[in-house]
Symmetry: C2
Subunit: 190 residues, 2 copies
């Protein structure tokens, strides 16, 4: 069995990722290691920098992820800073901002990254497209879930069950792709 | 003559700081060294982290600074991420956001920091209070200057001459205080 570490403080995320990777014969252990997130334009830059830092500190093969909401008419805002913007403006701030917009398209993205023992990086980006609505709906989920309706659906992420959301979500897709890439890399290895 | 380095790519800022420090017999040279800015709640954290990084890379006594606009009714947003928010939402986005607000109070802050040869940090924070207005006024300045009226004035920063703004500004105050602190430290030294 291969073993890798997932640097997260979130037990729910850990469990989701453990289940996904176990299908590929990979055991995922939690690494409690807060790492600095840099200011950057893309999730990939934040993840790569975090991986380098963790590798320097711990020297273990590790995975991390970063997510954001990207609104088309706002040049991708709040993007990489989605957590900070949610803490300050909240969903109501985004609604106020979007009252002035005609294009409501947005997408959630998650970048999941892995650095192996040699310092090689593998990245995978999961994305779910949808629209912003001008009222909060639903009690589930967190963050911007109450104002985001994924394309092809008429309910917000916050109106879906956790299982339903996890099937659609950007994070699920990112980790699924990452697990597939790691499996492929392993088969490529001599 | 003491000599220290200022990590900036901005010739205008360099000149302003050189003039200020020359009064204290300190020569300021430019250091072209982009450093990572971390995601954090305060300017001080960003500056301290940048100084540590530069010290590790260059080992020279160096000053850096970071600024932001903090809006009371928006829990300090855009704060540490003011540059990114200006690039995406711009002044018009802030105006749209503030249409829903009754309290227009805001302040500009600049944190200037210095790390000496021994790795000791000196920080100074300059602040100018004022209000946000719901229209852009003036052609001067940059960033949020057209929507910020400093307290005790009736014109925006963008309606003032550079000399006038530099006398009031958060950055001028931060570097003035930093220069004074460095001078005091020097006199304290055995």
């Amino acid at each position: 069995m291969r073993k890798i570490w997932f640097a997260t403080g979130n037990p729910g995320k850990l469990k989701e990722v453990q289940e996904k990777f176990s299908k590929y014969g990979i055991v995922v252990e939690q690494l409690i290691a807060p790492y600095p997130e840099i200011q950057a334009d893309t999730l990939a830059e934040v993840v790569e920098s975090g991986l380098s830092w963790l590798w320097g500190e711990h020297g273990k093969p590790v995975i991390i992820d970063d997510s954001g909401l990207f609104i088309d008419s706002q040049k991708g805002f709040p993007g990489v800073y989605s957590a900070y913007v949610h803490k300050t403006l909240g969903c109501q701030g985004i609604i106020q901002l979007m009252k002035g917009a005609s294009d409501m398209k947005a997408n959630f993205q998650c970048c999941a990254g892995y650095m192996n023992e040699d310092g090689d990086v593998t990245l995978a980006v999961g994305r779910v497209d949808g629209t912003i609505i001008l009222e909060m709906r639903g009690d589930g989920g967190f963050g911007y879930d109450p104002i985001f309706v994924p394309a092809g659906h008429d309910r917000t992420f916050a109106e879906m069950s956790l299982e339903e959301k996890n099937k659609l979500s950007h994070r699920a897709r990112a980790f699924e792709m990452l697990a597939e890439k790691l499996e492929l890399n392993r088969n490529d290895a001599p």
